[in-house]
Amino acid sequence: MNSLGSDLRWWLRLARPYAGAFALGVAVSIVTVSANMALLAVAGWFIASMAAAGLAGAGMNYFTPAAVIRGLAIVRTGGRYLERLITHDATLRLLTGLRVWFYRQIEPLSTVDMRNGDLLARVRADIDTLDHVYLRLIAPVTVGLACLLGAVAVMWLYSPAVAHVNLALLGVAGIALPGLTYRLGRAPGAAAVDTSARMKAAAVDWVEGLGELTVFGALEPRRETIDALSRDWIAHQKQLSKLSGLSSAGVLLLTNLALVGTACFLVPLIRSGALQPVDFAPLILLVMGCFEAVALMPGAWQALGQARAATARLRAFEDRRPAVAEPAHPAPPPACEAIRFDHVGTRYQADDTWALREVTLTIAPGEHIAVVGPSGAGKTTFVNLLLRLAEIREGEIRWDGRPLSAYRAADLRARIAFVPQRVYLFHTSVRENLLVGRPEATAEDMIAAADVAGIHDDIMALPEGYDTLVGEEGLRLSGGQIRRIGIARALLRDTPLVILDEPFEGLDMRTAARLWSRLERHLADRTLIVVSHDLARVHDFARILVLENAGLVADGDHATLVRHCETYRRLQGAYFNRRLDRHAPDAGRGETAPTPELSLRRHA
């Protein structure tokens, strides 16, 4: 965790654009709380003076104090309203800024970091937690301290001793005691958070594995584990509750002691004539008014703990390096798709095994290339390098004569239409999802692309056609349909290089064959790279790359590879590829593994 000072500076830096509103909020709040304290004091002075006047049979100007009381009541209630409006508006602005800041922060990070849906959900909650920094931490502490000090200064005018007593007792009640509680509560607090996370993980396991646990007769021990974690969690909360109970009892004791102490000092002063007797009432009530300022503080300590934990998690993203570095002086975008791999190697983390190594090959513009290989051979990494989603660690890729790192990643991506192995559909309409490919495309372009991908008819059959919502709250599409939307989306880009990662997964064989013949025609004059398991589809390619164990083992056409490449022959092991369920028109549904993005979402 960063130091408190560093966190504070970080918060202030993020809040700088809204500093004016925040300062105004604090100022109004100080006026409001002071008005309340003054209201009590003036009311006390008023009735004591009225009583004194009554006893003395003298008259008194009661118009001024009555007007002051009215005025303070209005300032207090109106000020509170204004203050809440100002601070909430500023806080919501800050949250907007934080969301955009965070999005910009992670946008260039590597994909591997971003697979964890739980992590993302927590980040979202963390950003929302940071509204506490101002509303529950900085503002109450500033306001509380300012009002306390102001009240103590007023007391000083009457009696320095009374001011000292109050400063000491109220300071301990408002700052030292909550601070101590916070420190003591850190360990049980962390334990409670940890236990609840463990319980949550155990509950996810238990709920999702309910069927298997039932069959294996293993429900009871697992249920007891969750139950035990629940009781542990409550035990930690009990410790916290004891602490907070002690703390609020302590605050009650100290603030009321300040009251008794003040009385003790005032009585002799009145007797000695150093103080007007009627001043006893306003001073006593001023001390009571300070309780409100003190009460603002303990919550701040709690907020501090939560805000710092959230901040630590968010700031961790600042330290992550982007997946690929952008050039300081980018070259103009490449003019053609002549690409050369020269002893290229990469791995995702320094201590990982190589994901790809010693790959040397040339891709000529307009060439159609298939990439095959067993799972984990490096096919997707090969594609990620071209898309600048992964950084080259060894060797070099030259595109139109220049190394990839000379170009802006956006310039390269503008020339690539890509269909990933796991197509991500946003939770919006089919239309919006297609337009991700080219936001300014016309409806005709969009339908034409959907036609080539063989998804137009499917879309028209949806309840609201292109305007049907997809995803969690919308329609559930089959794996094959999602894939074809991904293909249409990519085709809409109309780029010279097209990369398809497993375009036929989840499609029944007739659909796959029809799709392929349309794609082949449509992409005839472009550079095309197809990564596929489906060896029936790759026969026709003039060039097939065979990857295995992170290396390029063969490069040639079907006939050559069948003769010379053992891996290729093994992949062709046709017998095992016979599938019984491919005839179903909807074979894709539920049978391709859900994308991790979607499956993680379930717990989000």
């Binding site: 209201l39 008023f46 009735i47 009225m50 009583a51 004194a52 009554g54 009661y62 509170r80 508006d89 919501l92 949250l95 907007t96 946008e107 971003m114 849906g117 979202r124 949550k200 993980a201 509950a203 396991d205 709920v207 999702e208 594995g209 069927g211 298997e212 039932t214 069959v215 294996f216 629940s230 409550i234 909360q237 009990k238 004891k242 907070s244 302590g250 002691l257 009251l259 003790c264 002799p268 067993p374 991506r413 503008a414 690539i416 890509f418 991500y424 991700v436 969690e472 029936a536 046709a574 095992f576 599938r579 369920d581 491919r582 049978e591 391709t592 593994a593 993005e597 379930r602 989000a604």
Partner: protein, 581 residues
């Protein structure tokens, strides 16, 4: 259930469990209130003595000592009250959580699969936490909000009936206003929550689809979109807050004005000598305390709303029909594979109008391997669930060694069973923990031998810590084929007499596929097996192939017979042949 099972009624009914801590909390807080009144009275006396009697410190000292004792007592009560409130919340949380766990267990997988598991887990954890505020705060605070103002009135009325009248007249306005305004704000609030949901949903969506946005060069556009949505949200939230804050403005104003009115009324009567200073000062001290519990009701009411929302899902769980197996017979099993007979077995999923199983007749001989094929939706998985006792057929008969499953103690049947689902769950823990689910007493040798027969030895041995490698949610990533082979190994560990397998249908490369088929073949030795098959290679080894369509068996026989028959199966097989050609 005797009462309508709304969540509010449920919350109220459950309060029986915590009657004692809640009553204790009310008693303690009321006592604290009485002490607070006493403290105000002593303070008023001290003030009177100090201002108008010119009393010496020594004369006042006994009163100050009394004040000190009262404060100490109040601090103790404040601590005790917090403990009582916590006890109420803690008791209810522990009880409800355990009951939820036991209930969910009895509802079965069909029910569980229809419920998003994220929701269930949320209910078990944070949902139950939300109950705490209802039992820990709402119940006691509402009682105190009635008792304490009444007690204060009881003190004020005899000494100054006019101030008492002002308080009495304004007090009911506060809860009335609060409910009136609160209801409207609640509606606005809910709309706002939905907007918040849209906004944070969009944000999460953008984060999860980040790679897509990046490869389509839409990063900058998305940042602007997030900013715009977030700003829209701010504007609409502020519109709601302006109303919500206005309502609290009215309430505060009401309370403040009444107190000011009391102060002014007291002031004039003091001047006219109609009331003593001590009495007047006491009333002034007590007036804010009179409104305090009423003003706190706002946040307490909010806690109640949250608890009601959280309880909705719980009531739904408690009201769902459980899957019960009444049988008790334990004598139907011999040390051999069982014979399983299905006669006219039918099952319709709740809420569906089409039967998933529409009369299945199937006799599985002891040790026989049956391969089930058919399009998705044909009823294959439902058949598997029925054999596993995870659903109870609504029509027909399922007999194990001649005895209806309803008469058998279900756990005895399950002891005979192992299950290899299509997407087996890897539980949080090590590879070993996951295998031991089959048989908790198995030693490492047995585990390795099972892994060997399941064709899983190589990749487990290659894992960084072998059997101790953590798997599951945050553990090692394994491929679908590997996970299924681990599940097969688990079935070997169990040494079950009957195995239900739902073969993985996702694409596997040739090597993985060969190993899977080999492992299944080994698993079938010496056991009965029902295999939901997706590959010709797996089917080829079955003793019998059953073809399902629309919840019925439409064909059965051996591979060659079915091919010769030229029906659905022949069509399936020829389709797959053309793929492979």
């Amino acid at each position: 259930m005797p009462q309508p099972n709304t969540s509010a009624a449920w919350l109220k009914r459950e309060s029986d469990i915590v009657r004692r801590p809640v009553s204790r909390a009310i008693a303690i807080e009321s006592a604290g209130g009485v002490l607070m009144i006493a403290q105000a009275a002593v303070l008023a006396h001290v003030a009177d003595a100090a201002i108008f009697d010119g009393a010496a410190l020594t004369a006042i000292l006994p009163w100050l000592v009394g004040l000190f004792l009262l404060i100490g007592l109040r601090a103790i009560l404040s601590y005790a009250g917090e403990q009582a409130r916590f006890a109420a919340g803690a008791t209810i949380k522990a009880v409800v959580r355990e009951r939820l766990l036991r209930t969910i267990e009895r509802l079965g997988v069909v029910w569980q699969r229809r419920m998003p598991s994220g929701d269930l887990v949320e209910t078990l954890t944070e949902g139950v936490e939300k109950l705490e505020a209802y039992y820990g705060r709402y119940l006691s605070q509402t009682a105190v909000a009635v008792l304490l103002p009444l007690a204060i009135l009881a003190v004020i009325m005899p000494i100054d009936w006019l101030s008492g009248l002002v308080l009495l007249a304004t007090a009911p306005l506060i809860p009335v206003f609060m409910i009136f305004i609160g209801k409207g704000a609640e509606k606005l609030n809910q709309r706002q929550w939905r907007r918040m949901g849209v906004l944070s949903g969009h944000f999460l969506d953008a984060l999860q689809g980040l790679t897509t946005l990046r490869i389509f060069n839409l990063g900058a556009r998305e940042a602007r979109l997030i900013e715009r949505l977030s700003d829209d949200y701010r504007r609409s939230t502020m519109a709601v807050l302006r109303v919500a804050f206005l309502s609290s403005l009215v309430l505060e104003f009401l309370a403040t004005v009444s107190i000011a009115l009391v102060a002014v009324l007291i002031g004039f009567r003091l001047m006219w000598g109609q009331i003593g200073f001590e009495a007047g000062f006491l009333v002034l001290l007590l007036a804010p305390e009179f409104y305090l519990p009423l003003r706190n009701m706002g946040s307490v009411y909010h806690a109640r709303m949250e608890a009601i929302a959280a309880a909705e899902r719980m009531v739904e769980i408690f009201d769902a029909p459980a899957l019960e197996w009444p049988g008790t017979r334990r004598d139907v099993f011999a040390d051999a594979p069982p014979r399983v007979t299905l006669a006219a077995l039918g099952y319709t999923y709740p809420g569906s109008d089409r039967p998933a199983l529409a009369g299945i007749d199937l006799d599985i001989a002891a040790g026989e391997t049956i391969a089930v094929v058919g399009a998705s939706g044909a009823g294959k998985s439902t058949l598997a669930l029925a054999l596993l006792g995870l659903i109870r057929a609504d029509r027909g008969d399922l007999r194990i060694n001649g005895a209806p499953l309803e008469t058998i103690a279900i756990e005895r049947w399950r002891e005979q069973l192992a299950w290899v689902p299509q997407q087996p769950r890897l539980f949080h823990g090590s590879v070993r923990d996951n295998l031991l689910l089959g048989d908790a007493a198995a030693n490492d040798d047995a585990l390795w031998s099972a892994l060997d027969r399941a064709q899983a030895r190589d990749f487990v041995a290659a894992l960084p810590r072998g059997l101790d490698t953590p798997v599951g949610e945050r553990g090692q990533r394994l491929s679908g084929g590997q996970v299924q082979r681990l599940a097969i190994a688990r079935a070997f560990v169990r040494n079950a007499r009957f195995v239900v397998v739902d073969e993985i249908s996702a694409h596997l490369d040739a090597e993985n596929e060969r190993r899977l088929v080999t492992a299944l073949e080994a698993l079938a030795q010496g056991r009965g097996m029902l295999l939901i098959a997706h590959r010709l290679a797996s089917v080829a080894h079955a003793d019998r192939i059953v073809v399902m369509d629309g919840g019925r068996i439409v064909e059965q026989g051996r591979h060659e017979q079915l091919l010769a028959h030229g029906g659905v199966y022949a069509r399936l097989a020829s389709d797959s042949r053309t793929i492979a050609a």
